[in-house]
Amino acid sequence: MSWFGNSEPEPPSGPSPMDLAKQEVDMYSDLFTKMSGLCFKKCVVKMHGESDLNVGEMSCVDRCVSKYMEAQEKVGVILKRAEESLAAQQGGVGGPAAGGVPGVPGR
């Protein structure tokens, strides 16, 4: 998985890379739980008949996951921007938490 790859070297102070990695694991597992729950709610409508997913449900799930991840990225960008402007307003004191928003590629 990608969280091994994208952790940048940290300055000596602040949370350790290990803490960041653990936080990222937790964050992805939460994301996964939420995404599965939502895509189930949105894609599976009737509970009678077959217990297999039908073709419509399968393609719905595929799109649902892809869209959810896209939304995650978009929201991440907005959140990052907001954090940055907040940090700029505060004159860089404190600044955003190290690591920022996980899963968002830096610009």
Binding site: S29, S36, E57
Partner: protein, 88 residues
């Protein structure tokens, strides 16, 4: 990562996975009960409700594994894109 850190990380991963599967159980009961329970004239699930619970639970499990598959695809693609970006 040192072996000790690796061990620490794996332990965290495992405990998270345990938490996830417990949460998934509760989540599944919550969703399927919400979806399937229709009347409260009896203290037992009736035939229709039982069938519904069965289908609901099986579908949820299948759907979750499909979500995992697609999620993995997307993460792998992202990692690949990032690696390509670094090389450039």
């Amino acid at each position: 990562m040192t072996p000790v850190q690796q061990q620490d990380f794996l332990q965290h991963l495992e405990s998270q996975q345990r938490k996830d599967s417990l949460a998934m159980y509760n989540n599944l009961v919550f969703r399927c009960f919400d979806e399937c329970s229709k009347s409260f004239r009896s203290k037992r699930l009736d035939d229709g409700e039982t069938k519904c619970i069965n289908v609901c639970a099986e579908k949820f499990i299948k759907l979750t594994s499909r979500v995992a598959l697609r999620f993995q695809d997307i993460q792998q693609q992202k990692a690949k894109d990032e690696a390509a970006g670094v090389q450039r």
